[in-house]
Symmetry: C2
Subunit: 391 residues, 2 copies
């Protein structure tokens, strides 16, 4: 196990009707004037925004609003938020929505406290040392941004999607009401679940040895996802299954199950280019990327793939042929994604093989490599993209 | 799943040589004058105290020391600490040791900030609202106090052992170096492991339905303990196994795997009286209590015991007789404790059946009940104590 630092100070308030506590919680964390940041109209139509505003007003706090965050949130909205916060002397940001809204709020938070261009952080040119406190009311179990130290933003000019990680940007509190996710369209529920599964797998595929505790914790979350997601596909109003998925989504990404080990994250890199080019949901893209990535890299450590297959998918261990077990596990994961109605091939999102050079170039490797389980060259990445096609 | 609040802001700095960071970390959290609180001579003999002092001095911080914390820490040491902190204007407490030292430090921390008698908190007469910041350098994987919101103190007068839980007393940071646990005597390592296992089981046995995610996470930790503990019994210098156990011990008790569900905790209550009367290590007492508690309460929900047996101990599920599987699981747990050299019967710690009325009376139930999985009357408790004897 590697040495590590783990610090997840976010307060999680979880359960039915918890969004009514958002005003009191904001006050507790020092808010005086809040930016309520949100995405599309669903949080307005559902009445959630009204309940949030009412809770804030009840505590005598002021607020301004900035909506319109799109999936795969973009830099221009962040600049708009930074400007608004400065103009209105905002001292607290409340993100009401999913990963995109939260990631955008995190970028605004550190942007306000920074003299330069916030993109410096995402471009690897600077480290954030301060933020306006950010809190969240989560509306989809997916990105894990409600508990994570990371944020992903797309630079409009050139469509570069880049992530930034820093404990500074962990939310001060997150309100998680599983009932809010019951009205999600099925494809969003499924894509969110694929995102959660991917967050676990990015941590699971490691070259670090002797990580039994975090291995078992990762497997526990995967098993729970495999068991609970079909319940909400069958009955979107299954609160209990929604609750199990929502907590798994947070635990999967606040990193308590990923400490002390090398993590991979190349699949996220490969996916970012799919959602940038084809405009698909990040989770749907991951359902395409992961099986291909696994097939390509299985030979690097067949026993680790066999372990996943046996412990998570209940495959038989073929002791005379571990690779067979490994491959069965990948097939089970792919079948699981298919059963959720997710795409698993690029053709399904209207991609073309001719796009592969563009996708690879856009990864920005510039002769370097991607990931750590296997350090992928541009040629490897092209091969993996090729595996995402049926023929 | 029940609604819940989860807030674990402790920063964990984990790995080899991390105790050298203790000075810088204390400074980061605002320390100017530190009380270094510790137990016996082992932290001095090992050189750990010297390294801690050196790290604190290197940051230009002042400190005073208070040693002599005993296993099952007592109120008189807490009073001594409170007085010392006030006299020396201490603003930060660093516990160097295990659960006893940390629990004592937590009690001192809230005691200094409280006008009344600190015992009010443990007697359920008052709630703490503030504390001097407490940090830890952990020397044994066991109590989980390094990440928990709880503390257990014994009142010397009358030998009452009582716990107090409040998010206010979570440490600000905890330094976890698994190498520090390599020099522990085998019986302490084993007792600590039993304590960790008990912390998981107290959460596992619940009447709350639909808790798949936390069930799986609990099982993951149990499996990891079952796999890793024998390694350190075989080779006390197995750093990797020590590291897996240490992280499992923290995760088992900071409550991330116990949220949203009713928890039991009657076994801890039953054990406190054993360690108070017979002076044994808390973990050793739990190895005696838990199998008896399980046998007595198995009929309440045989399927939950069967789930544990199958998923954690790999027992066959007897679909025509789940109770058989359930009982096999309890036997496996008991065998595991035996294999660690732990006692599993009261005779082994020189207890007598004649003591049972005293033990029961001391639980302080006064006509009430203990626990929540099954609400135990005094008669139930007497029956469970009886089951702890071989004959």
């Amino acid at each position: 196990m590697q040495n590590f630092n783990f610090h997840s100070p976010t307060q999680f308030v979880f359960g039915k009707d918890t969004e009514t506590q958002v005003g009191a919680l904001s006050k507790k964390y020092g808010a005086k004037k809040i930016l309520i940041h949100y995405g599309g109209g669903s949080v307005i139509k559902s009445g959630l925004m009204d309940r949030v505003r009412e809770s804030i007003r009840a505590e005598g706090l002021e607020y301004v609003e900035l909506g319109g965050v799109m999936p795969n949130p973009i830099d221009t909205k962040v600049y708009e938020g930074i400007e608004l916060c400065k103009k209105e002397s905002v001292d607290f940001i409340l993100a009401v929505g999913g990963g995109s809204t939260i990631d955008s709020a995190k970028a605004i938070g550190i942007g306000v406290k920074y003299d330069g261009d916030f993109w410096d952080f995402y471009a690897g040119k600077a480290q954030a040392t301060a933020t306006i406190p950010v809190a969240t009311v989560l509306t989809i179990a997916a990105a894990g941004s409600e508990g994570s130290e990371s944020s992903v933003i797309t630079k409009t000019e050139g469509s570069y999607k880049r992530g930034y990680s820093n404990d500074v940007i962990r939310p001060v509190f997150s309100v998680l009401n599983p009932a809010l996710t019951q009205t999600l369209p099925l494809n969003q529920t499924a894509a969110g679940s694929a995102d959660i599964i991917a967050h676990i797998l990015e941590r699971y595929f490691t070259n670090t040895k002797n990580v039994e505790t975090t291995d078992r914790l990762c497997e526990a979350l995967l098993i729970s996802m495999i068991n609970e997601v079909p319940k909400v596909i069958l009955d979107p109003n299954d609160y209990e299954a929604r609750a199990n998925i929502m907590w798994a989504g947070m635990v999967a990404h606040n990193n308590i199950v990923g400490v002390g080990r090398e993590q991979d994250w190349s699949s996220h890199g490969l996916e970012h280019e799919l959602s940038a080019l084809y405009g698909i949901a990040h989770g749907a893209g991951l359902a395409i990327v992961f099986p291909a990535w696994m097939k390509y890299n299985c030979a690097h450590d067949p026993m680790r793939f066999a372990q996943l297959a046996v412990r998570v998918f209940g495959c038989n261990m073929h002791f005379d042929n571990p690779m067979r077990t490994a491959v069965e596990g990948i097939a089970r994961l792919e079948s699981f994604f298919v059963s959720c109605g997710l795409p698993t091939r690029i053709e399904q999102i209207n991609g073309k093989k001719e796009d592969i050079p563009y996708l690879v170039e856009h990864l920005g490797l510039e002769g370097g490599t991607l990931g750590s389980f296997v350090k992928l060259t541009e040629e490897d990445c092209a091969n993996i993209y090729t595996l995402m096609f049926d023929m």
